[in-house]
């Protein structure tokens, strides 16, 4: 990263009056200068109110324990779409796409239970061989001695193949899933995004729903299978979903299973390239991979925040949050909270208690796919280490303009010939 940009950010973070700080400014996520701002909030205003922002007024939680406590108290802090949902930016009401991540009990619980068997231990074990074969093939086919984009050739390709497997989606059309995932989460104000308005986004997701409906109709009349569409089509509490809900649930599963893992694969390689001693440790001892996978997920924090809306007046850290107010839980900051995680600002692949991080959330919404994500990352690194002694990162990662998903769009690398 440009050292001057970094120094400017440190100076600005120290100088900005706290009551004028809008920590959600996506530009600081895109140029990776957000860190000194979060450090200041954790130190001086861990429960911080921003009165005025493009997203309206909102509270920010930046410490690990405050975030954990809020996650657990889902009765006081709702995820429901009708109150605004789970992102700092409210979903426009007319275009709402409800899914169980944006619901409270009891409906959330019913729908989650339909989906979660797909990632139960036995199912994961069944998928392991397929994932390993596909990962090996992708790595074998990478060019040697020339520069290529790691994100496109490895991170995207691998996660999308996985997703096609989960949905039992026509394999040759798998990049459609990547496209819809990008559509579902992109910042419509970013000129490089695939869609540029909420209406356009909604229209594209309708195309997704149409393609999926076809598969649904085929499978609803066939015996139940182990893929997600069949599970939803046969599930007691999901078989009669309304069109918007169908769209929302598919988008949730596509994004959940795609962007986050993709960005962990890219972010992990970047972290290793920036910490050559850790990379060396890994090559000398591949048994560290499972530990490292958790550290990568903490380090990358693919989901930077989740948002809740207070349903009653509640106190956090001495501040009163009123019913109806927006509360943003910054996982990306809690994961750097020194009071919970020693040397939180260092990437340490053999750290003690690496699983202690907020990246998957906690409580009833805790990530359904967390074991699948960990398994994919473990296999990728096992297969990389078995094949490639070295990967050189030759460009700074190009990051996504978003305060919600911490993503890497492009990262050029070279494998020595």
């Amino acid at each position: 990263m440009d050292a001057n940009v970094q120094l400017d950010a440190i100076a600005e973070a120290a100088a900005v009056p706290l009551d004028q700080l809008d920590i959600a400014d996506p530009r600081r996520f895109a140029d990776d200068t957000i860190w000194p701002f979060f450090a200041r909030l954790r130190r001086e205003a861990p429960v911080h109110y921003c009165a005025d922002s493009p997203y309206g007024p909102y509270w920010s939680l930046t410490r690990y324990q405050d975030i954990l406590a809020t996650e657990i108290d889902h009765a006081s802090f709702s995820s429901d779409t009708s109150l605004g949902g789970i992102q700092i930016e409210d979903q426009p009401k007319a275009l709402a796409r409800p899914s169980f991540i944006r619901m409270d009990p009891p409906k959330h619980d019913e729908q989650r239970k339909v989906v979660s068997p797909i990632v139960a231990p036995a199912n994961l074990a069944r998928m392991e061989t397929t994932i390993r074969e596909r990962a090996g093939k992708i790595i074998d086919e990478l060019p040697r001695g020339e520069i290529f984009d790691w994100v496109d050739r490895v991170s995207i390709e691998l996660t999308i193949q996985m997703l096609a497997t989960l949905f039992d989606y026509p394999f040759e059309n798998r990049r459609q899933l990547t496209y819809w995932s990008d559509v579902a989460v992109c910042n419509v104000n970013d000129p490089t995004s695939p869609v540029h308005s909420e209406e356009e986004r909604f229209a594209e997701l309708k195309n997704m729903a149409a393609a999926m409906s076809k598969l649904w109709n085929e499978r609803v009349n066939a015996p139940p299978q182990h893929d997600l569409i069949s599970m939803l089509a046969h599930g007691e509490s999901t078989r009669n979903m309304q069109p918007n809900e169908f769209m929302g649930t598919l988008a949730l599963l596509i994004v959940g299973g795609n962007d986050t893992t993709r960005n962990s694969i890219s972010g992990g390689l970047h972290a290793l390239s920036q910490n050559p001693d850790e990379y060396r440790k890994l090559r000398e001892n591949p048994a560290l991979i499972p530990n490292m996978v958790s550290e990568i997920i903490r380090w990358q924090t693919p989901v930077a925040h989740m948002r809740r809306t207070a349903t009653v007046d509640t106190e956090i850290g001495g501040k009163t949050i009123r019913a109806g107010e927006k509360v943003v839980m910054w996982y990306v900051s809690g994961n750097r909270d020194e009071t919970m995680i020693p040397d939180a600002d260092r990437f340490i692949i053999d750290r003690k208690r690496p699983r202690q991080h907020l990246s998957f959330g906690f409580g009833i919404h805790r990530c359904v796919g967390n074991r699948l994500a960990e398994m994919q990352l473990r296999i990728v690194w096992e297969e990389i280490l078995a094949r490639l002694p070295q990967i050189e990162v030759v460009s700074e990662p190009e990051r996504v303009l978003s305060n919600f998903l911490r993503g890497i769009k492009r990262m050029d690398v070279r494998i020595p010939a």
Binding site: E71, P105, D109, V119, A120, P121, Q356, G363, I364, R366
Partner: protein, 106 residues
């Protein structure tokens, strides 16, 4: 100190002495017993400390409260004797307790 026997899914037994006042989860983590991840550190917020309590002991370990029951309902492979081990406090009454691990924590 009460003795607690942790049995891995593959049958490996780990008899451990666990001080009164700790939780059954802490007894496993402090002694590096594999099979209990305890990602949330005992806050009843992750369900990765899931165990099956030996039926003989169910009367002494008590029953899950509402939060535990709700987290357990999302865990994979639960049975009627499933508990989150971070919610069972070790007492002298539990000397001899046997808990078994599930196939995987999720």
């Amino acid at each position: 100190m009460p003795k607690i026997t942790y049995i891995e899914h593959d049958g490996t037994e780990h008899p451990m002495e666990v001080p009164v006042g700790l939780t059954v989860m802490q007894g496993a983590v402090d002694n590096s017993v594999p099979g209990i991840d305890a990602d949330c550190g005992g806050a009843c917020a992750c369900a990765t400390c899931h165990v099956y309590v030996d039926p003989e002991w169910l009367g002494k370990t008590g029953t899950p409260n509402e939060q535990e029951a709700s987290m357990l309902s999302f865990a994979a492979v639960t049975e009627s004797n499933s508990r989150l081990s971070c919610q069972i406090e070790v007492t002298s009454e539990l000397d001899g307790l046997i808990v078994r691990m599930p196939e995987g924590q999720h």
